[in-house]
Amino acid sequence: MNLGDFAAPLAGGALIGLASLLLYAALGRIAGVSGIAFGVLPSHGGERHWRLLFLGGLVAGGWLATLAFGPLPPAAQFTGGAAALALGAGVLVGFGTRMGNGCTSGHGVCGLGRRSPRSLASVIVFMALGMATATLLRPLLT
């Protein structure tokens, strides 16, 4: 690993932290993407506008970054199996982040940021299961 391998992750992480701090210090909001995304579902009502603008900003910011730093690598080739995996993984991520009240951003960046024991427990569990799944289970499915 050389310097360039972790400079971009570090800089990108700092941008994510800055965005989260802006939302927290200015508006008293937690930049948790799962909570923000579920908050725009019709069943939730209220305070939908800032959430929609945050999500639109996510896409716009990502797109602007591709103009400056180059596009995302092309996605894996479309196959039925890969599509089923994406759908199944999506259901699990939605179910789990809803039940556990947060994801990498809400519990990770923000929850650890305010030194929440709940968030620390969440991060330890999803990191451990993420690594175990990618290492042991995913090779059997792909």
Binding site: L27, V59, W63, G96, S105, A134
Partner: protein
């Protein structure tokens, strides 16, 4: 546009650019980080390090002020403690993350950029949240 909406859009843009720059929006990179063994790519650990280097001192400074700049109160910490829902939810999320390499933020960005796995993943994620509310 009012101040709250403008700030939300700006925060979203910084966040989205950060996800792209950091490598988190590329699921192959994320899976390279989550898959242990020879060829393990630890670089994405620095994403969390970079973010926490800002949020840990920044949130503490913000709280010292007593209230947000443009709102009445900071959100209260949940009172529920470390309970079963938190741990089981985190475990299920971790399994989904390790299968595909998308967590919610990168999925939104990648879907917006037209990546086909994210375009399937995102509606499935909303369905999963709806299911969690139904059990």
């Amino acid at each position: 546009m009012n101040r709250e909406l403008l700030l939300a859009a700006v925060a979203g843009m910084l966040f989205g650019a950060g996800l792209l720059v950091s490598g988190m929006a590329d699921p192959a990179r994320v899976l390279g980080f989550l898959t242990l063994g020879p060829g393990w790519d630890p670089s994405l650990a620095f994403v969390m390090a970079g973010a926490l280097a800002i949020t840990v001192p920044g949130f503490a400074l913000a709280q010292r002020r007593g209230q947000p700049l443009f709102a009445k109160t900071f959100p209260a910490a949940p009172s529920s403690g470390i309970d079963r829902r938190l741990l089981i939810g985190a475990a299920i999320f971790g399994i989904g993350w390790g299968l595909q390499g998308y967590c919610p933020g990168p999925a939104v960005v990648a879907a917006g950029l037209g990546q086909w796995p994210a375009l399937l993943f995102l509606p499935a994620m909303l369905l999963g949240a709806w299911l969690a509310d139904s059990v």
